[in-house]
Symmetry: C2
Subunit: 395 residues, 2 copies
């Protein structure tokens, strides 16, 4: 009994705010100087199907929160010249900003957007995979500071920061397990980064963030059921089910790196060996050499690549058999290797009762930071939709 109540006025208010905000944001780009693109109360009432007093109340709340501004209305021509022209309203995408950050073994990247999600700045730098947690976080701060400085966006304008990083991430932003980066396991990453920002910091597994990104701006825009495989030495995966991120009960969904151990298959070091000795050190550079040799026709390298592909097929097939997604997106550095897609497709056809579509990531290197940005935007939109109860109260 306790779960349902007779009606939730705050829920209704949020839905109404959401509807009005979507209508406002949909009305031309926010940087348009043509104010006739901006809707009037009458427009908003018509488009949303809400009553005029409801729309008026929501818009007042949004203006109070600084998210909407009244444009000086241009005179309309024709019959309506007499009388006061109707006020026009514009969504202020510039009222706040969002950051999407990738923290990976070799790379720190940041994307900056306005409240409409349009990218207004970007920055990245290569880092050493052996970098400790403190040094790595220092690089993150530098990349972010650099982006903010170059775009002229004040740090105080940031409304939320999303972060994508390898490992199992707990709801509060602590890395429960992250073997890809030194010092990452147990790191209270969200808490550490919150010291640099005065806004919410949301930490997400990198493959999960990438899945969100491909759904938002990449190859997965036309489906709500996709798996993103961040294919590398230790593959990870992120899944959207019905358009929502499936994190799993403990945030470990898609952590398929251990699958090959179960099948009694060789480790990547052995798979990719061309000498009989395990490949060491096993890093992207060493692997790139093997792939280049294979392309030049070296038989041993070709055999190594074939073994590597079989392992990828096996990992992806396990995900597909368990989840049955509509689309599998291959990202990570393996996506850059020629000839990954075709063997994957034909093998999945063989083993899967209902083979999914398979596509390469459209966003490539940008996928993790883009997904992190989207998660920050989701967070802020939730706040905006609760504008009357939450945002107003904060001011």
């Amino acid at each position: 009994m306790g779960r349902l109540t007779g009606g939730d006025p705050s829920l209704l208010r949020r839905i109404n705010s959401s509807v009005v905000l979507h209508a406002l944001r949909g009305a031309g780009t926010s940087f348009s100087s043509d104010t006739t693109d901006c809707p009037t109360l009458t427009d908003l009432t018509r488009v949303t199907g809400l009553s005029r007093p409801t729309v008026e109340g929501v818009v007042e709340g949004l203006i109070e929160a600084g998210l909407v501004v009244v444009e000086s209305a241009a005179e309309e021509g024709g019959a309506k010249r007499q009388g006061r022209p109707a006020r026009r309203f514009r969504f202020r995408a510039e009222a706040g900003h969002l950051l999407g950050v990738e923290i990976s073994p070799h790379r720190i990247a940041a994307l900056l957007s306005g409240l409409d999600g349009r990218i207004v700045g970007a920055g990245s730098r290569e880092v050493d995979e052996s970098l400790g947690a403190d040094d790595r976080l220092e690089r993150v701060r530098q990349v972010v500071a650099d982006v903010l400085r170059r775009t002229g966006v004040p740090r105080s304008s940031l409304r939320a920061v999303g972060v994508g990083t390898p490992g199992i991430v707990e709801a509060g932003g602590t890395v429960r397990l992250g073997t890809a980066l030194p010092g990452w396991t147990g790191l209270p990453l969200g808490e550490r980064l919150r010291r640099s920002f005065r806004c919410p910091v949301l930490v997400e597994n990198d493959a999960n963030a990438a899945a969100v990104a491909e759904h938002w701006k990449g190859v997965g825009q036309d489906t709500d059921d996709l798996v993103f495989v961040l294919a590398g030495l230790s593959p990870g995966a992120g899944s959207l089910i019905g358009g929502r991120l499936h994190r799993g009960y403990g945030g470990a969904a898609g952590e398929i790196g251990a699958l090959h151990l179960l099948g009694r298959e060789a480790t990547p070091e052995k798979l990719l060996s061309t000498t009989g000795e395990p490949l060491h050190p096993l890093d992207e550079q060493a692997v790139a050499v093997v792939f280049a040799e294979a392309r030049r026709g070296d038989a041993q390298a070709q055999a190594a690549v074939e073994r590597f592909l079989q392992r990828l097929v096996h990992d992806v097939a396990a995900l597909v058999l368990a989840l049955d997604p509509e689309l599998v997106v291959i990202g990570g550095w393996a996506a850059g290797i020629d000839g990954v897609l075709e063997p994957l497709r034909s093998e999945l056809e063989r083993y899967c009762l209902r083979p999914p579509r398979v596509a390469l990531s459209l966003l490539g290197e940008a996928s993790v930071a883009t997904g992190a940005l989207r998660l920050a935007l989701d967070h802020v939109e939730e706040q905006m939709f609760a504008v009357e109860t939450t945002v107003t109260a904060r001011r």
Copy 2:
């Protein structure tokens, strides 16, 4: 914009109906003869938090639909003796019935319940695995007819029939792929069975049904994130995510039977061989013999069982790594084998970053039919909750 409207009065009505129905159903058992257990309008208003006119409207609709009846109110003692006593309302669980049916290689089973889901009848019979589709469906009709006759429930009282069966089942009830039963692939099972019933027939994959069952009445009552592994020669699995069945984009989620082919592992026929020759025919009886020999100390049989368990571990680990459930329930005939649970637990501890709880099915043989019954009940409850718009209109 098109997705949200300013308010959905029919949705609100359904929520209200649902709240009132839950309150009515929660008030004592439906066969209780003590009418003071039955709530009054005042009780319902207090418990639901809804307004009195709303409750009154909903109750009138439910009475009209035959789902609620006014009990002749007993005189209340004490101060309130004067005046007309308040009417008391009772949910009529006997107003309709539901069937849950299992159609498996060796067995047909049926469960019958009232609208409250309480079992009022059951029946089953062994069948030959070589039975063709027509003969198998004839056996289903016989089992159902027998249960109805023994309980005295008229066929016309059936509101919905749920069916659990191996294979990939499309939304309309056609078996897209079902290799476990002769003639099953392509069979319009829902359509065929609808000829025998004048109510909706819902067909579901057997492992999916079993997952629903364990969540409803089995070991999974305390979690919304579980995987049910129907462990047999070709394992299948059903998953609940956030309390909802995850069927996958094409209904093939959990069909992990092909996983061992990918790992280049041997087929079950080879795994379970004690002679060097593939085990043939491979059926439950042949496998039971191998397990019995292993228990008697036969070294070759013990090795075969070990290989079989490793395959099960591999299948379950793939599901766990992909989905990260809170609980894994082992059902099917492998659940009856001594010593399955401990090796599974310890191996999952080794390979999974966040190992789930592992438990044996509580419902055992009844799990598929119980889940099918629950799905039928879900369907009818959805209708009941839409009582004002749908059920009333049908009369």
